[in-house]
Symmetry: C2
Subunit: 417 residues, 2 copies
């Protein structure tokens, strides 16, 4: 698989022509073959995954990263997700904005694949499958670069994916994988704008910034979430506590987990101690603004530093700040949110609407946990990424977000005056 990167991109572009013509039956055929092949090779996959895990452990990878790397007990869930994607309609060839102009020209937009995607991601082999499945179904091609810790797992997965494409008579270059772990490869990838249409970096801020600086290809950034919940004075406090507990502790290592809790001053003195007590029982520790600190000087709490409000914790830490009203909450969120997932807990309908209008994030919540921002949860089957920028796609990106469109104009030899 270790051909030259430019050659890979040229091959992908050629494959993209074929994929754009593939029928729904053919694309679903490849996905069904993939399910069969994953089942048939489960032992071999887990064996390769174990090789990665053993190596990673000996390299001292932490428990959270090891958990992300492991496929043990996950293949059934992955196969279920592929079945979901098979059940979704073809995202390509959908007409919209159809109109007949006064001169009788018939104009419509028709959805098309984007072409070739370059996806750079962390050592999570399930992501290899998520992205490949959505790429295939949407008639695109992808060049993948996964984290080096998942090397052996990705190798066998890509082999199985390509085998499945072959069985459906689709080009194996639809999904290609960069096995060269040299960092310089990423920079090269970012310059191949003649063949690659979109770069999706999944990973930390440093990777995203690197892509923005060096890419001559459009880049979708995202996946970094400094997420807020604002407890309004009218909130149902008992139920809010359950939501906050869920948003912070259900899976603290992910981007849609809660980072900062904003509490209306009129309920702060009764509510903050409850939050601290309940969440601390689950191991959460706290960073408090001076007003919250006046309310709860527990051993689990300390005074926040200003940088804390701009930190994505990804762990059992929660910032708590007292605000005077909705405006101050919105102001804080505008200043410190990464535009991923932010919510209000309130029984005041007008406040809910103002919050929705004024908070400019990919997902804005009223009375729910921020943990729902996810392609699977939002009915997209899976996701290639969660975008936090405003161009092309925002929030979870599924099949529709992997399409572009072209204008189709049918005439009867019309000319322009």
């Amino acid at each position: 698989m270790n051909t030259d990167l430019k050659q890979m991109a040229i091959a992908a572009k050629a494959a993209a022509v074929e994929m754009s013509k593939a029928s729904l039956k053919q694309k679903n055929g490849a996905l069904k073959a993939l399910i069969e092949n994953l089942k048939n090779h489960e032992d071999a996959i887990l064996q390769e995954n174990q090789r990665d895990l053993t190596l990673a452990k000996s390299n001292g990878l932490n428990a959270s990263l090891l958990e992300r790397l492991s496929l043990a007990n996950r293949l059934k869930g992955i196969i279920h997700d592929i079945e979901q994607v098979i059940a979704l309609p073809d995202p390509v060839g959908i007409l919209c904005d159809e109109q007949t102009l006064p001169n009788q020209l018939k104009v419509a937009k028709c959805s098309t694949p984007i072409g070739v995607l370059g996806v750079i991601y962390e050592s999570r082999p399930n992501v290899t499958l998520d992205i490949s499945v959505l790429t295939m179904k949407s008639g695109n091609c992808a060049i993948l670069r996964g984290g080096s810790e998942s090397f052996y797992t990705n190798q066998i997965l890509v082999k199985i994916i390509q085998q499945s494409l072959l069985e459906a008579d689709l080009p194996i270059e639809t999904i290609q994988f960069i096995t060269n772990s040299d960092r310089a490869q990423v920079k090269k990838l970012l310059q191949l704008h003649e063949s690659i249409d979109l770069i999706i970096p999944r990973g930390g801020a440093a990777l995203q910034q690197f892509c923005l600086e060096h890419s001559t290809i459009p880049v979708i950034t995202g996946g970094i979430g400094i997420c807020h919940l604002f407890v309004d004075e009218s909130a149902d406090l008992e139920r809010s506590l359950v939501v906050i507990l869920n948003a912070k502790t259900q899976r603290p290592s992910v981007c849609n987990a809660l980072d900062t809790l904003l509490v209306h001053s009129s309920v702060a003195s009764i509510f903050i101690p409850k939050v601290v007590q309940t969440l601390n029982e689950k191991g959460v520790i706290f960073r408090l603004d001076p007003k919250a600190w006046d309310i709860a000087r527990e051993p689990s709490c300390k005074l926040a530093e200003s940088a804390d409000w701009d930190t994505e914790w990804l762990s059992l830490i929660l910032g708590i700040k007292v605000v005077e009203n909705l405006e101050e909450a919105v102001q804080h969120i505008r200043m410190h949110s990464t535009g991923h997932s932010d919510g209000i807990l309130t029984e005041n309908h007008q406040h809910a609407e103002l919050f929705i209008q004024q908070v400019d994030s990919a997902a804005v919540y009223v009375n729910a946990s921020t943990r729902f921002t996810d392609g699977g949860q939002f009915g997209l089957g899976a996701e290639v990424a969660i975008s936090t920028q405003k161009i092309h796609a925002r929030g979870p990106m599924g099949l529709k977000e992997l399409t572009s469109y072209k204008w189709i104009v049918r005439g009867n030899y019309q000319i322009r005056n």
Copy 2:
């Protein structure tokens, strides 16, 4: 107006918060005020425009560029376009993909403004108005940098636009203009990703490449059209000739004008001489491939060099090439088109469908002139640019293409399992 660029961007970002909350009535109010102010200041505008024209003439600007710079006899048309935009519905706040999840969460996407646009364009002062009008109606803000030859015209237009915003109680920082003509300003603009959401460069390939290389903000490229028409063997040749004449000569200096004509070999010997004769009467000269050269060795013709097929003529030059079939035509277009506007002239329905499916351009035509690729023609009221890339927007960009969306999730204290 000559404040520091970074300050301008920060002011635009603040204004964008206000604009995102503006009602349709308020936004249309500003546009109505703009119409009145343009009418009331027509003499002053034309006087400033004359200043630019006099200077440009003395600097030896060519006739085609002078025509683009002049506003004489164009203000009525511009006002008509603004009226069209006023009549269009509000592009912001439109819900789509509404669904209720199994857990009763109500999820929808809601269209929002993008935020702050940075637009770099040529010396066409009507573009200043087109972009400002669409920016205002879509609740966005824009920082404009027009060509230096239109300096005085742009100054008075921006003053009038800001006055109109003021009259509608909207922030004047909604539309700001970079008066500093130093090229280094463009590079600075491209790095202000903390305040600017999208860069739209309108201009030549060099400007677009510069933006792709230096921007840390998403860039929409486009406006460069190497456009093709393929005359299939079944085409109505008489009517095709009229379409080809229109596509090449109605306004040869623009991006959707015809550059290369592909002719099916079975009709080449009768049709090419007619094309050469008819178009040459309008001053067109020709670059022919060897097969076409064998058919028409007129004084207006010469043998094409290979670079000719990759040239956007923007003038009365037409390339002509004989192809054996639809596949060869598609192959040539895939290789040489910039993905702007390409068409087939045919009476064969199956060939039309294959052409539409296989040609990957922003606008694909069957039996019509390529000159229709235009926001006004396609019913968008106006356009900020014509995108030829596949991310976010493709083809003419109007109001809808200046929006993003956010996911709105309304719940009843749901948590994720």
